[in-house]
């Protein structure tokens, strides 16, 4: 079930050692990639925009990872949670003198509470019904943002949000992007560990055989509410970071549309690992924003790509990459084995 990393081939004692070294390689490799992206974003404003958008999308998809990809609960209210993160920053920045990091916390708590409440109200629903009702919640929240002018500023939203200060120093845009990308990295590493923890195993089993999980003494409804709340908090972080970077938020900053994109991200990247969600987010940003050649057909190409992946490649890019890596690994091992067996090969070992 673990995707073997291409770097994890250092000979350790036993399979446990191999796994541990693969894990270390994965953590360090992804950290290096994250740092690489930070360096790539550099001083270029457009790249910075792409990076912050990618981080927001990734946090949204990671927020949906536990309930949707692991527990099989498709709630579509996430556009509301992301917006809550953003509006928390906007409200704290313009209406109070509190430090902005507090807004991140408040937004996370508020959206987690809302997600648990909505999850409780819809606890008997699943599949299509759950998707539709949570979508209606998203619609209602969108009109709340437009309507409650006293709180949200209506159609105009909230502007001129002050920049984030950490430890007394004001963060410039690049540091903020570094912060956002590192947050993505931390959350993805954490989610991937959760997936392989006993908690994650219970989650995945609650998707496939809920009765067995109940019988084992784990309450499935409580399990679902927990991950819905945690996921909403993660998604709200994405909204908060995006809002801090752009210093403005309005009702059309995070539309319902976002949720459909978020469903597709882990699908494209691969659902076998939390990193699939991140890879999917990168692809979405690339296809829908950065592909100038296709003019406005980027979204169409993206939609067709999703359909194609669904039908012919259900495991996504990382799933197939992992398979290819395993295949290569086996081939190498076998080649090494035959070489030693005949005694003719002078393999350097």
């Amino acid at each position: 079930m673990t995707a073997v990393s291409a770097h994890g081939e250092t000979p350790h004692a036993g399979p446990a050692g191999r796994l541990r070294s693969a894990e270390t390689a994965r953590v360090l490799g992804t950290l290096a990639l994250t740092l690489g992206v930070i360096a790539w974003a550099g001083g270029d404003l457009f790249r910075q925009d792409l990076a912050i958008l990618g981080a927001t999308y990734a946090l949204l998809a990671l927020g949906m990872y536990m309930p949707f990809n692991l527990a099989g609960v498709l709630s579509l209210a996430y556009s509301a949670y992301v917006a809550i993160g953003g509006y928390a920053v906007g409200l704290v920045a313009t209406k109070t003198g509190w430090p902005l990091p507090l807004a991140f916390l408040l937004g996370a708590v508020a959206s987690a509470a809302l997600a648990v409440a909505l999850g409780f109200a819809t606890r008997r629903l699943s599949g299509f019904y759950l998707a539709a009702v949570t979508l209606l919640f998203g619609v209602a929240f969108q009109s709340f943002l437009l309507d409650a002018k006293g709180i949200t500023g209506g159609a105009l939203g909230i502007g001129s949000i002050r920049p984030l200060t950490l430890f007394g120093a004001e963060l410039d845009r690049l540091s903020l992007i570094a912060l956002a990308l590192l947050t993505v990295w931390i959350v993805a590493v954490a989610m991937d560990r959760v997936r392989r923890s006993p908690f994650g195993v219970a989650l995945q089993s609650s998707r496939d055989v809920p009765a067995a999980v109940e019988a084992a003494g784990v309450g499935v409804p409580a399990l679902r509410l927990t991950v819905l709340g945690a996921g909403a908090a993660v998604a709200s972080l994405g909204g908060a970071l995006f809002t801090t970077a752009n210093q403005t938020i309005g009702p059309d900053t995070f539309t319902l549309h976002l949720v459909t994109l978020a469903i597709f991200m882990p699908l494209l990247g691969g659902q076998g690992s939390a990193w699939g969600a991140v890879l999917g987010a990168v692809l979405v940003v690339q296809l829908t924003f950065n592909l100038q050649i296709f003019e406005r057909a980027g979204s169409l190409i993206f939609g067709v790509a999703v359909l194609a992946v669904l039908v012919i490649a259900p495991r996504g890019i990382l799933g197939y990459a992992g398979q290819a890596a395993r295949w290569l690994h086996r081939r190498l091992a076998r080649a090494r084995g035959t070489a030693q067996g005949t005694g003719s090969g002078g393999t350097a070992r």
Partner: protein
């Protein structure tokens, strides 16, 4: 409330009812919620409007082509996506749900890319006709929509009663496994259900766009309204979706009139949650006398 609002409620209600009838057919024949029906309706309306406005086609050809395209989209969705994904997942709901969301998205983007991402204004089929009721005037397009709704519902009702496939559809809807055991062509009935639903929503989208206009993103809201109409009406009879549609449209007209526009979406959410809590099978339930 003025009588004119009632006219508009009936008109919207007929539209919602037709979309809900599409849901009903797919639900009976395939045990499946085809959310992409909303975008199919949009695609039909947009195709016709675009052909007439940009290519100068006459209304008849453009409308027939628009409706046919919706049915074609429905058939392609079933054959190329839902069926293989369903077979692979062994009847699990989530993969096909994601597939439908993907279809919804792709159809929306296809329409946006082909026909442009702007609102196409409606163009009435009967611009010179109107019915004066004394307290309210009913314009030609509303007459067409109401008449088409009645004809469609009656047609589907008769079809499900009299025709071979209609009866098999009802049998499959009430007990899939038994129907399969009896050797009924369950797979073919699924396809018929998808195609017929595509035709029905194609007609609905076509007629409604001619009145209210259509853009590539209209289908999303239509899909949700149709779903709600379906939930309110239930699946007890062919006419239940129409009753659900009319009730929903009445609520959608009354609530903003008395409580302000944003309250509509809150009310819709509340209605949905209430219905699932109290009457999950809708208002009209099939009762079996023993």
């Amino acid at each position: 409330m003025s009588a004119q609002l009632w006219v508009s409620a009936v008109q919207i209600g007929c539209f919602f009812g037709l979309v809900a009838l599409g849901y009903y057919l797919v639900l009976e024949g395939a045990d499946f919620f085809n959310f992409a029906l909303g975008p199919f309706a949009m695609f039909s309306g947009l195709t016709t409007s675009w052909l007439m406005a940009e290519r100068g086609w006459p209304l008849g050809f453009a409308a027939v082509l628009g409706i046919a395209v919706a049915a074609l989209l429905a058939v392609v969705t079933e054959v190329a996506l839902v069926r293989p994904i369903d077979a692979r997942s062994g009847g699990g709901e989530l993969p096909s749900l994601i597939a439908v969301v993907a279809v919804l998205f792709a159809v929306e983007q296809l329409a946006g890319t082909l026909f442009g991402r702007h609102l196409m204004p409606g163009r009435s089929w009967l611009p010179d006709t109107s019915l004066d009721l004394g307290v309210a005037t009913v314009d030609g397009q509303t007459l067409v929509l109401v008449a088409a709704t009645l004809v469609t519902f009656t047609g589907v009702w008769l079809w499900m009663r009299k025709s071979r496939y209609g009866r098999i559809l009802r049998a499959v809807g009430s007990n899939r496994e038994a129907a399969r055991t009896l050797g009924m062509p369950v797979g073919r009935v699924r396809l018929v259900a998808f195609a017929l639903a595509g035709l029905v929503v194609g007609l609905a989208g076509n007629l409604f766009s001619a009145k209210a206009g259509v853009s590539f993103q209209s289908g999303f809201g239509w899909a949700l309204s149709g779903f709600l109409a379906m939930v309110i009406g239930g699946t007890g009879s062919v006419w239940a979706p129409l009753a659900g549609g009319l009730l929903l449209a009445l609520a959608q007209t009354l609530v903003p009139y008395y409580l302000g526009s944003a309250s509509l979406d809150y009310a819709v959410l509340a209605v949905a949650i209430l219905f699932f809590a109290l009457r999950p099978s809708g208002l009209f339930v099939r009762r079996v006398r023993v």
